[in-house]
Amino acid sequence: MSQPAIVINNITKKYYLEKPRTLKKWFHTIISPFEKFTVFKNFSLSVNKGEFILITGSNGSGKTTLLKLIAGITFPDEGSIKTYGRIVPLIELGAGFNYELTGEENIVTNATILGIQKSKIKEIIPKIVSFSGLKDFIDVPLKRYSTGMVTRLAFSIAVYSNPNILLIDEIFAVGDHEFRKKSIKRILDFKKKSITIVLTSNFRIAKYIFDREIKLINSFQTS
């Protein structure tokens, strides 16, 4: 049971801060236009397959950065991160949707980004459409959708993308009550199928859902 899913080994992550580009400070800026800001220093974490991790912490403590590091959207300056299996990050639902294109066209793009093969996408489109409840709108450009509808479409794609590791960033604040219930039920199903889940949240989440809580603490450092 204790197969690893995510192994984070002693990472350090610094972000670039941009210095103000005013004429007065221009000279300084052109020599070194970026200042660095340390988010993680010598941070390690290992998550087992099938574990449900809850990450809490105040704003700016690095919750989203941690998910982005695991997903391979951004990379650590030092240390290493190993992951096992297909990762589906839900950092922001609907990121990368093209609002001129229809719902179905966006399903194809989004599923491709998640690494699903063409033949498989054809297969899951009807399931995504029916789970999202957007059957009547699927051939309409996304710009005509409501915010809730966009969210439902994005979550539905993630559900059928067959992840091994699911990374979820504070997305339960959206969608209507019924859809939220459906989503949570779906996530619990994932847990039963021993899919690894990392969820960040500032809201209280019922204890019985997750296995382990990790609290990130602010340590502002610029260099």
Binding site: Y15, Y16, K68, A71, G72, I73, T74, F75, I87, P89, I91, E92, A95, G96, N98, E100, L101, E105, V108, T109, T112, I113, L114, G115, Q117, K118, P141
Partner: protein
Amino acid sequence: MSLMNINYLRHYFQLLEVFTLREIKSRYKASLLGPLWIVLYPLFTAVILNFIFGKFIRIKTEGIPYFVFVLSGLIIWNFFQQGVDLAKNSLVWNRELITKTAFSTSVLPFSYVLSKIPDFLVYLILLLVSYNFNNYRANFSYFSIVIIILPLILLTSGVALISSLTNAVFRDFGKIVDFAFMIIFYATPIIYPESLIPAKFKFMLYLNPLALLIAFIRNLLFRSDFRLHLYLLSFPMSLFIFLLGIILFKNFNKKVADLI
């Protein structure tokens, strides 16, 4: 390892296909005339240039009707210019995608360049049709000049990779590209024949893949002279710029999401 590489490549090409189609589909979505713009744009450009440089300034083109003459240059110039112009913003426009999802970002500039292929083909048809209208005889073998797309894609993608990456970090580079366009447009024999270039500047043509390709198709169309070496000579420079773009992307790929 090799299995992983094959999977990676397959995924890369699927991304490329999906993004290219996404760009082509969304381009004309909110417009009335839609894909008709693919025909109208080159037509208007050639008509305007024909009036200014053919009728007013009367550039000497060795008896070649100016309209066809300029079209044979524009087919190459517009693919390059429009491809780079779109692609230079490809990372900036897709910032959401880059900072919130994980995929190979180099697909973006590539897909914007490839999305200009339909325009290129329309140009080719337009060129051959107006060629026939001007008492030249084109047959289907003339479609073989479609091979110019190969070095053209290499060159355009290379410049697109470099300009999209630099523009993502400092927007200054986007402005520099606009100036470079102006210089390249006038430095390349597009609206004038290469015979107008003074002998001591002729060497510049050999460093310019666009000029070589234009010389290649003009010799073929208007002199029935198949100068393969002009075509082949356009490869080394195009390939060099392409590889430069690839290397640059390989080195800074992991920083893009943080810097954009």
